[in-house]
């Protein structure tokens, strides 16, 4: 029974890994990416006919829905036309969708715009097509410095809070390779996706091995 503590350790770890894998398979996410702007202030107020375009947005993943945080000034929300363009609001249309009116104040609304492929820069425009004024939340212009916001055609020092979603959700486990790819950017030069694969492998082999040896050392 000298090895019993090691068996307990490995059994605990195996149980933990199984639980993590099951949770990872059961957790399905459909968010593709965000502009990375927190909803701290009202970034734009649209009256009927007004249009706000967040331009030069990098698209690292395919998406088919766009989410905005909207304020309605305590009334039923006005309908919005949401369009996706190549690079700027004046560019060719890549996708389009409509948000019906009637949504509540300070709420997040998702709009299907059709499939937009990764690897390009786009503009997302919101246009009020009638009804009362609408506030779109976002933050100061420094929040997304590479992506300007234009309101009624003029550049304003604000950015919109935008979240992009895929058509089909993926389990967390299926997304692990993509997560490792993303986590290898803005890192020390020698770090790549391989580093995370190696760390994950070592975490479930080297670490329990070392701890098992520590426990085995108690019986000597």
């Amino acid at each position: 029974m000298r090895r019993r503590p090691e068996l307990v350790l490995w059994a605990s770890l195996a149980l933990a890994v199984v639980v993590l894998v099951v949770v990872g398979l059961a957790t399905v996410r459909d968010d593709a990416f965000t502009l990375g702007v927190t909803p701290g202030v009202v970034a734009a107020v649209l009256y009927p006919g007004d249009r706000a375009c967040q331009e030069l947005i990098d698209v690292p993943e395919d998406f088919s829905e766009v989410e905005l945080q909207l304020g309605t000034f305590r009334r039923a929300g006005a309908p919005l036309e949401i369009s996706v363009h190549d690079r700027a609001g004046a560019g060719p249309v890549l996708g389009r969708g409509r948000l019906p009116g009637g949504y509540p104040d300070v709420s997040r609304q998702r709009v299907a715009v059709g499939e937009v492929a990764a690897g390009q820069r786009v503009a997302v425009c919101a246009e009020s097509v009638g009804g009362p004024k609408v506030a779109i939340y976002g933050n100061a212009g420094a929040a997304a410095p590479d992506s300007p916001l234009r309101l009624r055609g003029r550049r304003v020092n604000r950015d919109l809070t935008l979240v992009f979603y895929e058509a089909d959700g993926r389990s967390l486990i299926a997304e692990v390779p993509a997560m490792f790819d993303r986590a290898s950017l803005f890192r020390a030069g020698w770090i790549g996706p391989w580093t995370y694969w190696l760390l994950a492998l070592a975490a479930v082999t080297l670490v329990p091995f070392a701890l098992g040896r520590a426990l085995r050392g108690l019986s000597r």
């Binding site: 605990s12 993590l20 990375g36 690292p60 993303r182 950017l185 020390a188 070392a210 701890l211 520590a214």
Partner: protein
């Protein structure tokens, strides 16, 4: 080195490296400010606080902007930049700035009130990677900081050895809790003086117990004072060590009162010398630079609020217990601070604290913690005659002084209109006592079964480590 400790250190080191690599740049508490402090010290050999400079260098500001660090910090709904095009744009324009853009920070910095010792040490990592870009240097600084959790682990092993004798199972239990606690690994693997603070406090606990148990000899006295002095030059929190240091010296010298005067003088001299070469040098240097030696204790300056003892007592009650109807509500940031801040903060609040564990898991871990502390208390009281009163007093004094300092600060901080001072990680200087409590609780288990129970505890800690890393990966990159 005993094999169990050596293998434990291998695991602690690996987990530290994993956290250092995994955590996105500037996504640990105050890491942006601490990095700015390291950078100005390493680039210009200057301290932050010059009002003519911005807090961050141009290089750091551009990199933080490129990776979207400010918008991501504390807000789970925003993600760091992960577009390859954006990364390539940053590489083309900001990855290799002229040296002056690395060194033009150093303005008033929230971390600037900390003494410079940790930052000087961290600067070694920065300089070692000076040829790389800012992310190379940031990782290098994190990696050199991994010395501290290793020293914490060794220190807790030694402390348990003093408290329980040469019992490898109990020593491993105590050291494993300290070395494998996920939140401690996470904090220690970020750029933050707290890791060094935990190490100095852990060695202080060990040397204090050693001095009280074996008698005050010259190396122990000098070591204890040296560790205290170093801790004081790491963070002002360490002034809480001074009452316990005084206690050890008074008891130690009292016990030696019949020894030769020369020996007593040598002991006192070594203590004074150790304090002089550490905190003494820094205090003199700070004065010559017209700086304070450490951040002023909140509530003692010109903005101090008049002390209201009844209100202070009410605040303390409301921190630990549900508010009684007779008590005026104190504006704390949460309804159950002891649980929401201490329990959750100790067991896992990653990133800028926004990444938490599921609520049921927190409850289970809080119950396990209470059970462990209860079992340790029961084991202690089962044989009250074996309690060493001076050691108990010493440990209570260290604990009480830390908590008193934290609560005094928070009380005044909140009254000044601020929120969110207290953090679970502020308890980690006492991690040695946490490890000792686990070891003591383990003494209730028959000796033959202790290794298996310990294996279960280690398995749980390792599982929490993996889960914590998974949560961080999901929060930032899913």
């Amino acid at each position: 080195m005993p094999a169990p400790l050596a293998w434990l250190l291998v695991a602690v080191a690996f987990l530290g490296v994993a956290w250092a690599i995994l955590t996105p740049a500037w996504q640990a508490p105050d890491e942006n400010s601490h990095f700015a402090y390291v950078q100005v010290l390493a680039e210009r050999f200057d301290l932050p606080g010059d009002g003519d400079h911005p807090i961050y260098s141009t290089e750091q500001a551009r990199a933080m902007e490129a990776v979207n660090a400010d918008q991501v910090a504390g807000f789970p709904e925003t993600k760091p930049q992960w577009s390859e095009e954006a990364f390539e744009r940053w590489r083309a324009s900001g990855a290799d700035p002229p040296e002056r853009l690395r060194a033009d920070g150093g303005g008033p910095n929230p971390a600037g009130s900390n003494p410079p010792l940790y930052y000087l040490y961290a600067g070694l990592g920065y300089r070692a990677a000076a040829g790389g870009d800012i992310f190379d240097r940031l990782l290098a600084v994190r990696l050199v900081g991994l010395l501290w959790p290793l020293l914490v682990t060794v220190g807790v092993w030694l402390l348990a050895g003093e408290l329980f004798g040469r019992d490898r199972t109990l020593q491993l239990a105590a050291a494993a809790l300290a070395g494998l606690l996920p939140m401690l690994s996470f904090v220690s693997a970020s750029i933050n003086p707290d890791g060094m603070l935990y190490a100095t406090w852990t060695f202080f606990l060990w040397l204090g117990v050693r001095a009280l148990r074996r008698g005050l000899d010259l190396p122990t006295a000098a070591g204890l004072a040296l560790v205290t002095g170093v801790a004081l030059v790491v963070k002002g929190t360490s002034y809480a060590l001074l009452p316990a240091l005084a206690l050890v010296l008074v008891i130690g010298l009292w016990r030696l009162r019949r020894r030769s005067t020369a020996r007593l003088v040598a002991l006192v001299g070594s203590v004074l010398l150790a304090l002089a070469v550490t905190v003494g040098v820094w205090t003199a240097l700070a004065r010559s630079l017209d700086r304070t030696a450490s951040g002023q204790l909140v509530g003692t300056g010109s903005d101090a609020v008049a002390l209201n003892v009844k209100q202070l007592a009410s605040y303390l009650w409301q921190f630990y217990f549900p508010r009684l109807p007779s008590l005026e509500p104190f504006p704390l940031s949460t309804e159950q601070p002891v649980y929401d801040i201490f329990a959750k903060g100790v067991w896992g609040a990653y990133g800028w604290l926004e990444i938490g564990l599921p609520e049921p898991l927190y409850i289970v871990l809080a119950v396990l913690t209470l059970a462990m502390l209860g079992a340790a208390g029961y084991a202690l009281l089962r044989s009250p005659r074996r309690i060493d009163l001076p050691i108990a007093l010493f440990l209570l004094l260290v604990t009480g002084a830390l908590l008193a300092g934290l609560h005094w600060t928070e009380y005044h901080y909140v009254l000044a209109g601020n929120v969110n001072f207290m953090q679970g990680r502020y308890l980690f200087p006492l991690i040695g006592l946490g490890g000792a409590a686990l070891a003591k609780a383990l003494t209730l288990v028959p000796s033959s079964r202790r290794p298996s129970v310990l294996a279960g505890v280690i398995g749980l800690l390792l599982a929490l480590q993996l889960y914590g890393m998974g949560l961080v990966l999901e929060r930032f990159y899913a």
